[in-house]
Symmetry: C2
Subunit: 424 residues, 2 copies
């Protein structure tokens, strides 16, 4: 049996809906992968009696509780006081914590408000958790069966504290049998198509198969028990990935390439020392925006759909445009995205635009065509991703083949509403 864990978020802004509680989901993912069973999330506001009641409930119900929020300097930050009252532990002043808080202000050339003094008060017997990223130190303590850790609610501070202080403590305090999660990330194929593709593969009962569709990819998840032989794990993952073919852009959890599509493209572009000039229509700047900071993206321009100007053969136009840009640009790749569909179609979730992506490299033109339906933001996002995906497919193909002349062996792929013709 895994130890049980609860997540507890404090803050009026959470219960009133001003803030979406992303901390709870982030922490849950972390601890599930460590080997905990998460049984409950609870959020309460800044009312002392609610906090006290909840802390007492959890202390007799769970093996571990991770709490966020309520450690700030203002009067509505009540966590330490609530712990003190709930478990009858007087608050004690911690001079070292106080010094750290003062130091935080000195470094920033600011005067420490008197109210920050309360952040150095901790319930008796608790252990301080230093916070180098803000003024609020965390603390932990064991109450009966339950080990509590209290962290600030600011997500960036919370994540630092968790990864650097709490996670190592959890691993030493609890007997954990972490499962192995492998995530196969795909683009250009839907969840139901994936299910059909892999339906012939026999997945052992003790391996949990799951899917997760996000705006940026569809993930196929395989959760292996700790005692599953590594070799068998690799074989099964490779079987699944093989069925999904070129739609797979990354596999997490096997020590292979990871990250999102942009990260994968970024790695490939940098490794090959390539540079790119791009033309965007449907993605309207989002392709460039996603590649923020990438040195290989020399330029990108957005222009309204050419169809507006009466252009009908978009594929030919895209090629002409790419060739023209190649003449003037310093980039060795030119990527042009055009689409068929007027503004009305673009904003009608039930109608599809047709995307035409053309990539021009020294090996010639590569192109993809995709119908994309859904709300306008989905069309914009898919347009950016599918253009980048053409780049990825090309780069993967040349990486895997040292002789460019072999490029024409790249097969034609037709799946999930996507057709890829290469080197035609």
């Amino acid at each position: 049996m895994n130890p049980t864990l609860e997540i507890f978020s404090q803050g009026e802004e959470v219960v009133t809906g001003q803030t979406v509680d992303t901390n709870a989901a982030w922490l849950s993912e972390q601890v599930v992968s460590l080997g905990f069973t998460v049984t409950r999330h609870t959020a309460v506001g800044d009312k002392l009696n609610d906090l006290i009641a909840l802390l007492q409930e959890i202390s007799v119900r769970a093996d571990c509780c991770l709490c966020t929020g309520g450690l700030g300097p203002t009067s509505d930050d009540l966590t330490a006081e609530a712990v003190s009252k709930a478990f009858n532990l007087p608050l004690e002043f911690d001079p070292l914590a106080f010094e750290q808080i003062q130091h935080f202000f000195i470094l920033r050339n600011r005067v420490m408000p008197e109210s920050n003094r309360k952040q150095a008060l901790f319930p008796k017997d608790s252990k301080r958790i230093d916070n180098a990223w803000g003024t609020a130190p965390g603390f932990s303590l064991q109450i009966g069966r339950c080990w509590f850790a209290f962290m600030p609610g600011v997500p960036s501070e919370m994540r630092h504290l968790f990864l650097e202080s709490i996670q190592p403590t959890l691993s030493s305090r609890f007997v954990l049998r972490p499962s192995q999660l492998v995530t196969i990330k795909t683009i250009g194929i839907g969840e139901s198509a994936i299910q059909q593709y892999i339906s012939a593969i026999e997945i052992p009962d003790k391996v949990q198969l799951g899917f997760r569709a996000s705006p940026d990819d569809v993930q196929t998840k395989l959760l292996f028990p700790q005692d599953y032989p590594e070799r068998d794990r690799v074989i099964l993952v490779e079987k699944v990935a093989a069925e999904l073919g070129d739609h797979v852009f990354a596999i997490d959890g096997l020590g292979q390439t990871s990250g999102d599509l942009v990260f994968v493209v970024d790695q490939l572009m940098a490794a090959g020392k390539h540079t790119l000039a791009a033309v965007e229509t449907a993605s309207q700047g989002l392709l460039a925006a996603k590649c923020m900071g990438a040195e290989w993206l020399l330029e990108s321009r957005y222009q309204q759909s050419l169809e507006k100007m009466g252009v009908t053969d978009l594929l030919a136009s895209a090629k002409t445009l790419a060739s023209a840009i190649q003449q003037t640009s310093a980039a060795d790749f030119v990527l042009v995205q055009l689409y068929a569909g007027d503004n009305k179609i673009f904003h009608d979730k039930d109608q599809a635009i047709i995307l035409y992506n053309v990539l021009l490299t020294k090996h010639g033109f590569y192109q993809t065509t995709h119908p994309v339906a859904g709300p306008a933001p989905r069309k914009q996002n898919q347009a950016a991703l599918l253009a980048l995906d053409l780049l990825r497919r090309y780069l993967v193909s040349i990486h895997g083949r040292p002789h460019p002349s072999n490029d024409n062996h790249i097969r034609r792929i037709e799946a999930g509403g996507l057709t890829l013709y290469v080197n035609e």
Copy 2:
């Protein structure tokens, strides 16, 4: 005293962190504005005993409970069963609900799986809530002091059911005294600067003042009790807004212009029938991406920082570039964004880039300069917003003044690290 309300989310995907629970935040905002006090959010997985325990707890603690999830056809959808067991109410078959579910499949030319039959089972004495957007009907029932409403977990279906069935019921079942929330949205000024600006204004005790900093704006929130005179409310809001000056781009809750900065710019550009050509550097396509679908954005191009190419006088370069684009572009406005800072500075959260925005219109050049620090995604986002904000300030200034020659009355604004010179 407002009636108390709890939000309860069911689903393994929520407690394991696979899904961020946006339903809870959305519902909370809705019911707070109706006049409820939200006391708790709780999420539990697909374990029958946990569900039963939680339902029993809430039934004696809250006046109202809104529940999402667990109404699907599969074996892990346990809500109706849990309610039945928790309150000893046998499940009853509802032929009309069954007919609706069958109809849903017939409309879509699909065969109804046998498992969907369970979605027509409801606890005795409950009232069905029809769901025209999916297969899972909701239901409601009163248990002791608490009125429960159960909705599907799919956000789009949940929102429909809430707005069309549950909200009207809440308004008739409960005596509610909704507060009036006014939100003043600003850009280019921080929370602490706002506090200083408005410190001289006397805010009555019964008006709650709050702040919320998001990546896209800083919001000053004034929550008025229901019996606060409307005239006094308007006067106070106008006083606060006046202190914040041109930083205010929208006010929600007074029947005035609303929406985010892009929406405001979109309205102004469309009203004036203007068109824009833009050059982006630091925002790298994000300005264009934010304006998705806007007909007035004719073109936008991203290029890497000119500083890389040894350009030192960025402001002069921006003007030259804007003039050159004006020669060839069909757009009547040209907006050029350049910045000082290399890639290292851009990616160092503790260092600031200096943004130079130049807007060229038939009235000449307008410009802003802003230092922007923080992580790279913040710099990118602020760069997009601050460029759009220059456009907004210009448009507001010409809207308010019918004679262009009066433009030079626009004052110089220097606040929150922002300097705006106009018509120099």
